[in-house]
Subunit: 359 residues, 2 copies
Amino acid sequence: MPTESAMNGGIGTESYAKNSRYQGGAVETAKEIITEGINKNLDIEKLSSTSVDTFRIADFGCSTGPNTFIAIQTIVEAVRKKFETELSDSRVPEFQVFFNDRTSNDFNTLFASLPPERKYYAAGVPGSFYERQFPKDSLHFAHSSCTLNWLSVMPQEILDNSSPAWNQGKIMYSGEKKEVLNAYALQYAKDLDSFFKARAQELVCGGLMALVVPTVPNPNHDLSSITFPSYDLLGTCLIELAERGRFDAAKVDSFNLPVYYTYPNELKAIIEKNQDFRIERIEVLNIPSKHHTNPDPKAYSLTQRAVFEGLLQEHFGSEFMDELFDLYTEKIEETAVLLNPKETSMVTFVLLKRVFRMT
Amino acid sequence: MPTESAMNGGIGTESYAKNSRYQGGAVETAKEIITEGINKNLDIEKLSSTSVDTFRIADFGCSTGPNTFIAIQTIVEAVRKKFETELSDSRVPEFQVFFNDRTSNDFNTLFASLPPERKYYAAGVPGSFYERQFPKDSLHFAHSSCTLNWLSVMPQEILDNSSPAWNQGKIMYSGEKKEVLNAYALQYAKDLDSFFKARAQELVCGGLMALVVPTVPNPNHDLSSITFPSYDLLGTCLIELAERGRFDAAKVDSFNLPVYYTYPNELKAIIEKNQDFRIERIEVLNIPSKHHTNPDPKAYSLTQRAVFEGLLQEHFGSEFMDELFDLYTEKIEETAVLLNPKETSMVTFVLLKRVFRMT
């Protein structure tokens, strides 16, 4: 079953719009590096020789804002400035920006919150970014932030109780159980390959793609150190709800978070396998601590709720969500899991250029 | 105040999606004539010499479907066939379709009901079609059906009790009171001028525009015969609600339907004033009677509710809507207004070509 759920819609207490400060931190931090990347790597002479009247930008996995608007603003401003400086004011193209996310994303909220002073034409594009969403050679810049950790689908063996990769009683992979980790990693590589193949068709030659990818650090020797205590804790809460009789324990066995955190070396290898893109820059972003995983249990719980509630609701039913996240908040507090140095989330920035292909 | 309300969203009993059969009749009837128009008037040799890789279509005032999907399907198929026949299969471009409507339109419902088998890339574009919504020269075909009867704003004098155009106790113009009619007509001409000016920028030279415009017949001698008994009846219901103490009678004075029904000769004159477009065809559509104004009072009342409820709610409050439309259904029955030959709604089809301008 493909994972069809989107971030929480609307602008209420549990919405993604109100609980995406961490993701916002990544966007803030990437601003400068994106501007630099455009200055250095966007070849507007070449682009404008193919008569670019409209410069088209897409944000893949935009959710409901406001982070997407900040990222887009950065890109538009940097491109505009480059045209003004290197060509002339009169050669600045018009901008058309496409906000892409799954069909279940709350586009109504996104559209209602479009910045009124924007200097671009806006459009929403519903559909999975693991497939083609745009005509051939129709984009000049692609962006995606904090989205390339979502699997398009859960690998079947994870749910198969006869498979060594069956992830019983857990909702996330870890380095402890290699078969599970491998199944996740394989699916991830497949998904990213689809992503890059689709974007290679959509981007013009010379077009740029800026990705902010949620990652873990490069593992030292083996992968057994990989662990996600805060997700495991959410799994524990689900098991406790099953014990309280809210649903069958088997429901927890059949639920897994469809997210995978790659690490810089693996990400690099996946990109290099696809020969349509050249890596112009890859580096781990240093997100200032004010944006970091909020050590306040309630706030952290809300952040996770905004991201995962749709998915959890679909599987367990919406009636248990308050109880689940209340319990989760409690357990975060009890276990002090957020202070656990074992869990290191970070983001990796990649700037890619669509290169000419012979085939 | 600009009129910001959209058709009723969702897919429930009172939704536009479920109550737009009449508008659907217009789309069905226009199918053949649009296909003919594309065959005869779309100069693909010229378009493809300017290297059209992507053929871009926009539907202005798309609402939530399904009518918009039928219209778009017709256009895509006709253009595809023309490329196949006149050039070759391999020269058929990819299609990108933009669904435009006001920001308050229910785009979530629209996106969820996109035909899965569609052969085009879809995007939603929120914003008033009386303003620019697309980059310069970025569209090859524009379509709009049953939308060019909405005023962008109510003319001030209609609401001004010191003006001869004050429309006291009425919610719609009629030929009886010339000042009111003139104020509506003037605003309409201004709005259409804005519409054509915006589209002239957005369409490439040689691009086509197909419009299905709600109209009344050309008046014979003077305009005094123009009357809308079914809207007047809705006004009577509002007055009755005021008498029941639901709201102040002055609320009815300050409410007017922001719709104007032009007539073919007037429409032609407005278009001809704008020199960016050439009229390739203009004719009154003969909508088969099965699609006509439904003589069933309940169904007719629902159709009007799907269209006007947003607007009425905003002005009178949502708590009176059931009462209002129940009363309306009753009164339609009592007065047999739908059988009144005085009210003749019809639609006029116009096919325009964007011509080359010297300025």
